[in-house]
Symmetry: none
Subunit: 234 residues, 2 copies
DNA sequence: GATGGGAATTGGTCAAGCCAGTTATTGTAA
DNA sequence: TTACAATAACTGGCTTGACCAATTCCCATC
């Protein structure tokens, strides 16, 4: 209906922020009933502007996760939250999410290899080029990373798989964005990721399913390691 | 404490704006499907700043009243109420679910093969024996089928994957499936399924990942076919 | 010890601007 | 004339910086 097939729409920033904050809450860093850092401070911690954070807070307020009290602060609502129907439930560890992605995307890319249309291949190429030009820009690079994986998932031609891949990607990045964006997803990270993406692309272009699978699994494995290295705790 | 019926506490501006816009929509000034004025212009018309209007628009977007398309404009949603639960997908086709299971479980069983504990293997065996004794009892057989797949998923040692496998099996996203299922359960189908389960089990017992993957994929493929054969329509 | 009154803190709002994606226009070439 | 590619105009996305208003906190005062 309203979903234009083949278009991996980017995620608005406020949604990412909202997920990050939600994650921090579930993780226990902001216990129920406690007060969050001031908007200005929290925005800085998350590496976003205050208006963007405010948009996220409004979304969280509507969802009932937080309560905003003027002049006082932002408080975590204490509610068991009936999130039974939600896709991804409470904080699944990023490590496990990455492993799951390895299994799913690592297999799925074989399907995509066979079904990939030339047009999709072109768009993949464009994504890579754009990423090369944006390895310095965290946010942009991450959005392009997302597009790359979603494009491939779509090409498998199964909406269930597409949804799962999207959910897993978005979930993993909640804790990432949540961290001080200082040194994490910096230069080398995206350069490496790009190189690995290129490997996947080459395999797809060559229509070599096994190679594509291997490349994708390697990419996600290394991506996982990069994350772990930069995130010693937990 | 803060409920004073007489004097409404000052509502946040974005809520007032959201109500105003909603009102304009219902009034017919912005018909369904139409594009409303650009943010800058609309903000000026309403006498508010753009950030405040944007906060309101996010609220409206979450409520499903409006759809925001980057670079294009803000459009009035056609079905204002229908998409209240937009988060939950509106029923994913059983066929696609089975394909997704093929990809996921077909890959995952390779992992499980390596990590499977002897104890889990014993329980798998017990599941199969129980199934053999219950090929005539639909409900029981289905429950055992579920157990078989979930046991394997668990052995992959990843809670994310376990959850996904469970969700897909339970087909939470397809309310129609429950009725269809009744036809799926004639005698032969469970006999066949059991035989295929045995193949998977044998491969797991032999610790042969590739064989296990092949057996699982075959099983799910045939399972899908059995389903489709018994359900010619759609 | 209670209290009153600033000062600091915090959310609420605004203004202006740059960027990026989309759409309409226009001018060229076939 | 028609087709189409380059481009200009428009639109949402996001940021910076500032000021206002409500709340909270601390300390001098009684």
């Amino acid at each position: 209906m309203n979903e234009h097939p083949g278009h991996a729409e980017p995620r608005r920033l406020y949604q990412q922020i909202a997920d990050s904050v939600r994650h921090l809450i579930r993780e226990g860093r902001f216990p129920a009933g406690s007060r969050l850092p001031a908007e200005r401070e929290l925005a800085q911690q998350l590496g976003v502007s205050r208006p963007s954070l405010r948009e996220a807070l409004i979304a969280l307020e509507i969802a009932g996760n937080v309560e905003i009290r003027m002049g006082s602060g932002i408080y975590v609502t204490k509610e068991p939250e009936a999130r039974a129907l939600q896709g991804i439930s409470i904080g699944e560890s990023p490590l496990e999410i990455m492993q799951a992605r390895q299994v799913i995307e690592g297999s799925l890319v074989g399907l995509a290899c066979a079904r990939m249309t030339p047009e999709a291949l072109t768009r993949l190429r464009a994504t890579l080029d754009a990423m090369r030009a944006n390895v310095g820009a965290d946010r942009k690079a991450m959005e392009l990373d997302r597009q790359f994986h979603l494009l491939i998932a779509e090409q498998a031609g199964n909406s269930v798989l597409t949804r799962i891949v999207r959910d897993l990607f978005d979930e993993r990045h909640s804790p990432l964005t949540a961290q001080i964006r200082s040194r994490f997803e910096d230069n080398d990270t995206w350069v490496s990721a790009l190189a690995e993406h290129e490997m996947v692309y080459a395999a797809l272009e060559a229509r070599d399913p096994l190679l594509a699978q291997a490349a994708m699994r390697t990419h996600l494995e290394r991506s996982k390691r990069r994350w772990m290295d930069n995130e010693p705790r937990d």
